[in-house]
Amino acid sequence: MTTEGGVQYSKIAEIKGPLVVVDDVENAAFDELVEIETNEGERRLGKVLEVGNGKAIVQVFEGTTGLSISGTNAKFVGKVMEMPVSKEVLGRVFDGLGRPKDGLPDPIADKFVDINGEPMNPEQREYPKDFIQTGVSVIDGLMTLVRGQKLPIFSGSGMSHNLLAAQIARQASVVGTQDDFAVVFAAIGVQYSEAEYFRRSLEDSGALKRSVLFLNTADDPAIERIITPRVALTVAEYLAFDLGIHVLVVMTDMTNYAEALREISAAREEVPGRKGYPGYLYTDLSTIYERAGKLQGRKGSVTQVPILSMPSDDITHPIPDLTGYITEGQVVVGRDLFRQGIYPPINILMSLSRLMKDGIGEGSTREDHSEVANQVYDAYSRAQEVRALAGIVGKAGLTEIDLKYMDVGDVFEKEFLSQATDENRTIEETLGILWKIVSQLPKNEITKIKDKFVDQYYKGK
């Protein structure tokens, strides 16, 4: 931070969507923060997208509604957007641009950090391998989250992904260690009622004191959504790498982020890519997702659970598609299960945590975890096939073993998958239910688990 201020320019050439074009600008820098002052003295923030030929294109975060060419001034502040960070941010609620929203003063900053972050040196990255317990059986048991991982949740409109996001934020913890744990929650373009639900949910559960909330509601300017995940991740990185805290960042809904990006891209008249999203959508998303990880010699970690709603439940849509290329697996929320009233309606056959194998087993969860999870995965897959078959030939046409698999499917959905929104299951409880499912099968059907574990945990006859 310097004492030098910036020059204010009053020659606005054009206002186009969320962009303001300023004329006769000298010495502006790419990404530089700009204060736009309206006729009435109102101040809005923006950043420089392009400079050259004496012009600067400024993207106004709070929108350009009400701005006019005459009387509007643009002050180039001389620095990029920074977020004040300190341990004090824990337990605080901010808006999408990182300004307090809880009626309390600005946090006393320990330092000011560029919200774009610094890319992690690949050489310094540490491979993620420590388990995070979310208390949600289906995630902990079958698609385990590990510290430093980025595991997105692919959902659809109207489904219960926000309930799941809040539950994970409330319940997540690191087990078997005294290390500190914090949650950074970024709500991007959510409805007011949802934002309030997130806030109340964390407050009522006592989890707010270890959380930081960034709430960008649907009626906030779309352009603010570009900033929200970045300020959230800046705080997360500070907590993780400066203070040594394990941080889980939950971001919902990344689709709204991509929509905002598309809006800016269209206003800049860039050549559109798939479905009108900019061609650099992949690169842009990676600047967010790649901020997850662990660093050698640093105690903390940043784990990301971005949530995105797939338009028309289309998993091939550019947003889930490109997200899937960058992240390490995906948790898919299924429409069929949701319609059956199952919560959380996670379709395990389409879901996967690529780093699960490194975060489970002896010393992390339990030595039989991997095998019992594989067996249940296999059995549920078979149950689905049998259900499809029963739809054609009827139950009477099924063999005794087929019927057993149907039972497995039912027990799986009723006892393992279904969970109350305030039910926090330990990993031991989760593994116990997995064994209950496996125990529905005769022993000779158990092919993926070592005999010693079958002898120890199998409860069937």
């Binding site: 004492t3 020059v7 204010q8 320019y9 300190s86 337990g91 006393i108 006592g206 989890a207 004191k209």
Partner: protein, 199 residues
């Protein structure tokens, strides 16, 4: 007598048979009940354990809620008090700046501010605005800046200058107020550390 004796024998036989059957039934029922009781005991124990464990979980949850929200409430009150303290220090400091003596080093400060502003704007043809108190100091300092002229309009500020290019397209605010505003987060931190916070 003979027919009666046969009848009695038959009755006795039936009675004995029925008695035997009833006793057997009773014995079976007793065994069944015992079995049922034996079977339900582990279930009962399981149910009991579940109730205790659910109760403990709920108690832990409520404990966390109460402790969490109380800690947060205390911290928030502390933050508000701290801010109140910082604001008081700030307003006292601003009062002192506003009433500071305009002689001596102050003209050097104005010189520096003017020099910095014209360099940043990159033009010498500028109009300078200042407050009523600083007008004389600024006027005398302007002799070193050819092309710069002092506006007859005054501005409301603690001190310092605002410089505007003569075509009106560029402005640079170098008032003390703006400089303080810019540095406010750092000054707040300094003041808070004097209160023993944030060290």
């Amino acid at each position: 007598m003979a027919p009666n004796s046969t009848l009695e024998k038959s009755i006795d036989k039936i009675l004995k048979k029925t008695e035997k059957e009833i006793l057997l039934d009773l014995e079976n029922s007793s065994l069944d009940s015992k079995q049922t009781l034996d079977n339900s005991l582990p279930k009962l124990e399981q149910g009991f354990d579940k109730i205790i464990s659910d109760g403990n979980k709920e108690a832990n949850k409520i404990e966390k809620q109460i402790i969490g929200s109380s800690e947060l409430e205390v911290r928030n009150k502390q933050l508000l008090l701290l801010e109140e303290g910082v604001d008081k220090v700030f307003s006292k400091a601003l009062d002192q700046i506003a009433n500071a003596d305009r002689s001596g080093d102050y003209s050097n400060l104005i010189n520096t501010l003017l020099d910095e502003s014209t360099k940043i704007l990159g033009v010498t043809e500028v109009t300078v605005f200042t407050n009523a108190k600083d007008k004389d100091v600024v006027q005398s300092a302007l002799s070193k800046f050819s092309g710069a002229e002092l506006s007859s309009d005054t501005i409301d500020c603690l001190g310092g200058v605002i410089i505007k290019s003569k075509d009106g397209t560029m402005t640079f605010d170098n008032t003390i107020d703006t400089r303080i505003e810019r540095l406010k987060p750092l000054i707040r931190k300094e003041i808070a550390s004097k209160f023993g916070v944030g060290n």
